[in-house]
């Protein structure tokens, strides 16, 4: 956890310095924008963490393991790959939920299938896709990406199934 904070902090510092060298106030604008987004997301974040905590106690670990864990075989990857669209929310709400599933024993294949499925097929983006990119493009997009979450989960399980993720 500490090394991740250090990594993100160093990257932020690097971009801050790049912004500073531009001499147009980009560094300040960037931090202000970050703070603004953070405050606007704070209620969602607090709810997301409560949700993640409650999920850990309300969903029996055995149930998660049976359905989404490595012991569930490929069933977990199938469930993950086709349930991401149900999470019609932004990353701040989705990632804590996926994290709590990980802690309850979901396999790497399931986690990757679920996050890929959410990124590609989430219902929250659909109204924008239909209205701005058009129904024809949206349909093509869904057809060409439909099986990608399954492929991602499958590859993750085969290549990284033995990696300790927590």
């Amino acid at each position: 956890m500490k090394s991740q904070t250090m990594l993100l902090g160093s990257l932020a510092l690097l971009l801050f310095i790049i912004g500073l060298r531009r001499k147009d106030g980009s560094h300040k604008k960037g931090l202000q924008l970050g703070a603004k987004v953070f405050y606007s997301y704070l209620p969602v974040l607090v709810l997301a963490f409560f949700l993640a905590g409650l999920l850990q106690v309300a969903l029996p670990t055995t149930l998660v393991r049976n359905w989404l864990g490595a012991e569930s075989g490929w069933r977990g990857i199938f469930v993950g790959a086709f349930s991401g669209w149900l999470f019609a929310t932004g990353p701040y709400a989705v990632f804590p939920i996926i994290a709590s599933m990980m802690h309850s024993g979901a396999s790497i294949g399931t986690v990757i299938a679920l996050s890929t499925s959410w990124a590609l097929l989430s219902l929250s983006k659909l109204p924008y896709e239909l209205a701005i990119l058009g129904p024809r493009f949206t349909l093509t997009l869904k057809i060409v990406t439909f099986l990608m979450p399954l492929l991602a989960g499958f590859l993750a399980q085969v290549l990284f199934g033995s990696v300790v993720i927590i």
Binding site: Q4, L8, L15, A52, V57, P91, A99, L120, G134, T145
Partner: protein, 184 residues
């Protein structure tokens, strides 16, 4: 945002009831406590992630990306589209209108597909949040495995939907007409 808060609050209530039925107030309390502990432990990381997110949004030049992509086609367009999509900062309501402006300007449908899928899978601004919550290892595995997917989506579009570029140009014209009518 309001809708999200309502839906999530409802989910918190439902899960609290589920936990209550299984273990009473003690289990509900335990759930909230896990949430608070989790939040406390990732807070420094979240602060760094949001700072990074804001800086990426300010420092990445949208116009420059637009100019380069508008001129590119073929495999080069697909490759640049994949990477460009990942670099474009902002939510769908910011990025999609920008991508939509490529339609009908000569940009290939495959390039547009690479951009949209690239934005969904390789979003640079989302990377810190993914690392903060799921850990750098899972984040790296996810980005590594899906790195070629935008290109794959573009190739599939090129092969199986060859008429899409023309169809998108027609859609764009209709959209512009509607916008003009709305202005008048």
């Amino acid at each position: 945002m309001k809708k999200t808060i309502i839906v999530m609050s409802a989910a918190v209530v439902v899960l609290s009831m589920l936990a209550y039925l299984q273990g009473g107030t003690a289990l509900v309390g335990a759930g909230f406590l896990i949430g608070v502990r989790m939040m406390w432990s990732v807070l420094p990381m979240l602060v760094a992630a949001f700072a990074l997110n804001g800086l990426v949004q300010v420092l990445v030049n949208r116009d420059k990306i637009t100019t380069i992509l508008g001129k590119s086609a073929g495999v080069k367009g697909m490759l640049l589209g994949s990477l460009g999509g990942g670099l474009l900062p902002g939510g769908p309501y910011v990025v999609y209108p920008l991508i939509s402006s490529f339609m009908g300007t000569g940009a290939d449908a495959a390039t547009i597909m690479a951009l949209v899928v690239g934005k969904s899978l390789l979003d640079l601004a989302r990377l810190p949040q993914e690392a903060a919550f799921l850990g750098t290892k899972v984040m790296a595995i996810r980005y590594g495995i899906t790195f070629t997917f935008p290109l794959l989506a573009a190739i599939l579009t090129k092969i199986f939907f060859p008429k899409l570029t023309e169809e998108l140009a027609t859609f764009r014209k209709q959209l512009e007409k509607q916008e003009e009518a709305a202005k008048e």
